[in-house]
């Protein structure tokens, strides 16, 4: 890294010299400029950032970084501008520690979007020669986002010394983007830049090329157009695949919400309108777990969901069993009364939660491994959706194992197929009923933990899913878990393919109409149960 360092030194000197030549001798006054940010208005801040960037001195980088991150504060007590990190104050230029933040009256120096862009652009120029490859990478990226004439020279210098392939490719892209965006670069140079952008800039390539097309001369425009056409074609294929992924992800959410219902409604035949509230209680369990962790052990936050899962399952399963023992068992065989009773129960549960936790949304955070997205070839996949799909599949598999491979599962199936015969065989049917309902409710609780990651945690959470859940179970075929899986995925994908054409509102209506028509043709859903079980 030695050559780079000396290069940086030269550049810094060059920058300094330039700044000295260009304007009044403000360049030495970096501390003064930084200090003046304390009292500046938004408009003045813009000017100061510009002046700081014009110094070309990498010593201003920490102050600008802090400004962008919101870590730059003005101490109201002595008017001094400081960087706040881990509750201690640091000098924004020399990085020396000043003291603990507790003694100071700090107010943050706030910026707006356009200033944030300016700072990012300035930082790109200042940190391109950093020793740290990841800093260089982000500098190259910010240069790509904010192309300017000065960057070109800097990028050329940096490219000459760059050894890291990833950073190199980012710099080449940034250079190509800059070349394309500047008016006075040569046509040949621009032509060479087009394929670099098309190949490297991924999803933004079309944006960049389109904006370059606007003021391109004719001979270049053809090149750009063909590059865009190629990209568009590629994008159309990926867009279709992306839509399938969206559908699968929506389907997995539907599956999670419906699968508990597939047990209580599908297997037991109980119309449980309070199912959505079990989902809601699962989400609130997650909230409580996160609150406890936040207060007592913030380090465990990334594990909060793992802790919430068994708890949510236990709590909702116990509540489910209590509901079964307390209310539903008195109403077996009376579908309408069960519907009314469980629906009343759902209102009571909602209002109870509203009284305890308040009517507003509660904050459930995404652990770091569930935030953001990743690119998989041409697909952009968000982590939270990705993990929810995996989780839905895992829950489904676990449920299949429980129903088909355990003695409890065997008893459940026996009781639902022929209660009296099962009883005669020595199965404690009331116990099995309670366990089955508890299992269905517990799974709803698990769904709640997952849904807390993508939806509001509010008392109304469950309401939004109850109709969809019934739709999935009825469509897939009552009493069949595989039907629920196929039903959920079909509805998810169909919904996502209708949405771009029909819009979200009409799409939902169309799906409902299609299901109604489908049920007319096949009243028992996709996977109808056959044999004697149907009659009972």
């Amino acid at each position: 890294m030695r050559p780079i360092r000396s290069l940086r030194l030269i550049l810094t000197c060059l920058g300094l010299a330039l700044a000295l030549l260009a304007g009044p001798a403000r360049a030495q006054d970096i501390p003064g400029l930084v200090q003046s940010m304390g009292e500046a208005s938004l408009r003045e801040l813009g000017g100061i950032v510009e002046e700081l960037a014009a110094t070309g001195d990498s010593a201003v980088a920490p102050a600008l970084e802090a400004l962008a991150e919101g870590d730059l504060y003005a101490n109201e007590a002595d008017g001094r501008v400081v960087i706040l990190a881990r509750n201690r104050m640091y000098d924004p230029v020399t990085q020396e520690e000043i003291g603990p933040a507790a003694d100071a009256d700090l107010s943050r120096i706030r910026i707006n979007n356009s200033l944030r862009r300016d700072v990012a652009a300035a930082l790109g120029g200042l940190t391109l020669m950093s020793d740290n490859p990841s800093v260089r990478l982000s500098a190259a990226r910010s240069m790509r986002a904010n192309p300017s004439e000065e960057n070109l020279a800097l990028l050329d210098e940096a490219l000459a010394a760059e050894t890291d392939p990833a950073v190199r490719s980012a710099m080449e892209t940034a250079r190509a983007v800059t070349v394309l965006s500047l008016a006075d670069t040569g046509i040949e140079e621009k032509r060479a830049a087009v394929p670099v952008v098309a190949h490297n800039a991924r999803r933004e390539a079309i944006t960049i090329l389109n904006s370059a097309l606007a003021d391109a001369p004719d001979e270049l425009a053809a090149d750009i157009r063909s590059a865009i056409a190629g990209l568009e074609q590629e994008r159309a294929i990926w867009a279709a695949l992306q839509n399938v992924w969206f559908g699968v992800s929506l389907g997995s959410v539907l599956l999670l919400a419906a699968i508990g219902l597939a047990i209580t409604f599908g297997v037991m035949g109980v119309i449980n309108m309070a199912h959505g509230e079990m989902v809601m209680l699962g989400a609130y369990t997650t909230f409580v777990v996160q609150e406890v962790i936040r207060q007592n052990a913030p380090g465990l936050f990334d594990y909060s969901l793992a802790i919430a899962l068994p708890l949510a399952f236990l709590i909702t399963a116990l509540i489910g069993m209590a509901i079964e023992r307390g209310i539903i068992r008195w109403l077996y065989g009376r579908a309408l009364e069960t519907l009314l009773a469980t629906w009343g129960l759902s209102l009571i549960l909602q209002q109870t939660v509203r009284s305890i936790f308040g009517p507003t949304n509660r904050q459930v955070g995404n652990p770091s491994w569930m935030s953001g997205s990743f690119e998989f070839y041409g697909l952009s996949i968000t982590w939270n959706r990705f993990w929810i799909v995996i989780f839905a599949i895992a829950v489904f598999a676990a449920l299949l194992v429980v129903l088909n491979r355990t003695s409890l599962g065997l008893q459940m199936r026996a009781v639902t197929q022929n209660r009296r015969m099962a009883s005669a065989m020595g199965i404690r049917t009331p116990f099995v009923d309670a366990m089955t309902f508890g299992l269905g409710s517990g799974i709803a609780g698990l769904a709640g933990v997952a849904l807390s990651q993508i939806d509001n945690v509010s008392p109304n959470l469950g309401q939004g899913y109850i109709i969809d859940s019934f739709m999935v179970v009825v469509f897939g075929g009552v009493g069949n878990l595989w039907g629920t899986l196929v039903g959920a995925l079909t509805l998810g994908v169909a919904n996502k393919f209708l949405e771009p054409y029909a819009g979200a509102v009409l799409g939902k209506i169309l799906i409902l109409v299609l299901i109604i028509l489908f049920i007319q043709r096949r009243p028992r859903g996709l996977f109808a149960l056959k044999g004697r079980a149907v009659e009972s």
Partner: protein, 432 residues
Amino acid sequence: MNMKFALGAALAGTLTLSMAPAYAQDEPIKVGILHSLSGTMAISETTLKDTMLFLIEQQNAKGGLLGRQLEPVVVDIASDWPLAAEKARELLTVNEVDAVFGCWTSVCRKSVLPVFEELNGLLFYPVQYEGEESQRNVFYTGASPNQQAIPAVDYLMEEEGVERWVLAGTDYVYPQTTNKILEQYLLDAGVAPEDIMINYTPFGHSDWQTIVSEIKAFGSEGKKTAVVSTINGDANVPFYRELANQGIAAEDIPVVAFSVGEEELSGFDTTPLVGHLAAWNYFMSVETPENEEFIKAWHEFIGNEDRVTNDPMEAHYIGFNLWVKAVEAAGSTDPDAVIDSIVGLETPNLTGGIARMLPNHHITKPVLIGEIQDDGQFFVVWETEDLVPGDAWSDFLPESAMLEADWTAPINCGNYNKETQTCGGSEVAAAN
């Protein structure tokens, strides 16, 4: 699901509570509070009920009104609009309240309007709405489109250089009308029709993947793009989450929202949203002595330092103070006397300006644009130099450009046609 809603209404109706205070020297003045305390809108409206109780308690501590104590009558409309009309009727006929503060959604206001007209009551409506309405018995203390939507679009056009627009909203009357006005405004400003994308979603929409990726694609055409969001209520959290997860930063595609305030943001971690915008007439972060005092008293009343304040709360604060002044000026709580005396009255708002009740029953407000901060508060990046008077009928829609509302003599009309010089509605007959 019809049965479900009807039953819910019935159940929630029985929960209605009426609070009887202990003072009894004189007959108290009754104030009706008509908000949803259960159902989907409870999330926003419960706070407004608390705000009214807080304002009434403060007024009583100051000695009440006309020497009489104020008595709140709280009813729960359970996010059910036919029930809202019933409850409004109950407030006016059974409880005989002198003024009603309430409603959040436009559909609620539209369903209680005929009741207030018929029984000659007073309704103070505290939420920003789509305009195109002025009723003798209603006072609109929230923003009309020219006090929120239009300045926000101006800001994006001038300060951020936006050329391409996504108008995203929930599918009901407020977003539909606002977007109609905005679309016309943008077309008038020279935006090409293909640079405007309009998208509607159902209430409580939670799967935003497709729409956010469409917005992303729409924004990748090389022109600066912004989203103007009239998405309401619960759908906002998953929307912003999807934006953050798909990596749409405010620097690239800013979202300016008209229905997202401090209360809505208190539900989640706003770090990924820093820089997205909201347009309101009040922010909790505004530093004025009035606001500091209000927040302090509010925290004392509610007993929780973490509770935020928001724009509709300020609207209730203004509306309540204007009503108090009008009653004092008229010397009576009689609706006709209040309607006559309230126009032209002024009261300080919480952002250092003066709110004046205009003849069209709207008020003057400053317009503030705030950027979301990582603590769930807003930082004001722009504000109008002067107070903006609320306009009942948008000047940008051809069918309403010639209409104006004036509830003072001699016009006394909610939709007066300036060209034909006639009153278009039936309101006058009811009024006199």
